[in-house]
């Protein structure tokens, strides 16, 4: 009877609740059953991120967390260093008016007397 009242007021049916819960719990069950998939995922993730920043591979952690309505993957990837952004590649030299793109000139090397 209580369930009927719930439905009357526009709440989800118990079967749609069940379906949703099953969907999420089976995802978690499947992940628990496939530790090698998680390892592969972790490795691939590290490889991709490493193309952009340098990471501490040994300290990478990947976890799956359940909230009430969703499963989320949380990855903690310690970054060791970030390379200075390199200038965009230059087009080959052209005759004619100089390109409007600003070029940063390399600053003159500092003499030891003035460097700090």
């Amino acid at each position: 009877m209580i369930d009927w009242v719930k439905k009357m007021f526009g709440g989800p049916t118990s079967s749609s609740t069940a379906k949703e819960r099953l969907r999420l719990v089976l995802m978690t069950d499947h992940l628990a059953l496939a530790p090698d998939i998680i390892e592969n995922m972790k490795r691939d993730l590290i490889d991709v991120i490493s193309r952009y920043v340098e990471v501490d591979r040994d300290k990478v952690e990947v976890n799956f967390e359940r909230e009430d309505r969703a499963l989320a993957m949380l990855a903690n990837i310690p970054i060791v260093s970030v390379n200075r952004p390199s200038p965009p590649p230059q087009p080959p030299a052209q005759s004619g008016p100089p390109s409007r793109r600003r070029r940063r000139k390399k600053p003159p090397a500092q003499s030891p007397a003035t460097a700090h």
Binding site: M1, D3, A18, V25, D29, R66, D68
Partner: protein, 279 residues
């Protein structure tokens, strides 16, 4: 010479909680539902209750209680000392004094160390008034590990020949250590009346066990499992009241035994609307 002050003041030994295994032999008769609802009913009375899902590999107590999204660690994590018991115990969503220790889903039953299981249950008994152990179906290793820490047993049976036969076998296997009590589940009084289902007397004539309670087959059970909200959270309805009566009997109260004739006259399509007067 001045006596050193003792670090600890001796406290009187706390009363050890009761460890009850819920078993059946046959699967699908309602062990997990009974464990969840009995645990809920006991907790609703203020008792501190710990539920253990011993069905390693096929865990379901968590989903029946609606706690599946909150389980982080499980029985084997604790038995293998990967986490502490407190990290693994999941507080129930609805009942304050109820906690769950979930089974491992991705492991096998033969990975449970029997002696460690016994020690775990013993440890829980020191902190809780009741430790209910949800036993897996069957009589293999899972069953053996589930009963190892318990000192009482509840057997659940449906009024069907195969279930009765399996309970009979299980009672034999439980041996003299236990004096099992019986819950008859999924009774359909209308069918009993037509002679198409075993009656409570039929079942008990074969099993001869003290009867703890009788629960009728109700569609509400399916609905409450869909939602993960045990029926015993309610205090109206025949089945909810049946669980409360069982909890009271477990606690030692003298609640009158279920009367199948009374149930038959109350049952019918509108059974749940009448609200339980007696279970």
């Amino acid at each position: 010479m001045h006596q050193p002050v003792p670090h600890e003041v001796a406290t009187p030994a706390a009363k050890l909680g009761r460890a009850i295994v819920v078993t059946s032999g046959k699967g699908g008769v309602g062990k997990t539902t009974t464990t969840a609802n009995l645990g809920t009913a006991l907790a609703q009375r203020g008792a501190r209750v710990a539920l253990i899902d011993a069905d390693v590999g096929l865990r379901n107590l968590d989903i029946v209680l609606g706690l599946e999204s909150r389980v982080k660690y499980h029985l084997l994590d604790v038995l293998e000392d990967k986490v502490s018991l407190d990290e693994a115990l999941v507080p129930d969503k609805h009942s304050e004094t109820l906690v769950l220790l979930a089974a491992a889903q991705s492991r096998e039953k033969d990975e449970v160390d029997t002696e460690k299981m016994r020690a775990l249950v013993q440890g829980l008994r020191e902190r809780f008034d009741y430790v209910l152990i949800d036993c897996p179906a069957g009589i293999e290793l899972g069953f053996k590990n589930a009963i190892v820490g318990a000192d009482e047993a509840i057997v659940v049976c449906t009024p069907e020949v195969s279930a009765v036969r399996d309970v009979d076998r299980v009672v034999g296997l439980l041996g003299n250590r236990f004096k099992p009590q019986l819950i008859i589940n999924r009774l359909r009084p209308a069918l009993v009346k037509k002679g198409k289902m075993l009656s409570v007397e039929d079942v008990n004539a074969i099993l001869r066990l003290p009867l703890l309670g009788v629960i009728a087959d109700e569609p509400e059970i399916i609905i409450t499992t869909n939602r993960g909200e045990p029926l015993a959270l309610r205090h109206e309805g025949e089945t909810a009241n049946a669980y409360h009566a069982i909890a009271a009997r477990v606690a030692g109260e003298n609640v009158p035994a279920p009367s199948p004739e009374l149930k038959e006259s109350l049952m019918g399509k509108l059974g749940s609307i009448f609200g339980g007067k007696r279970a």
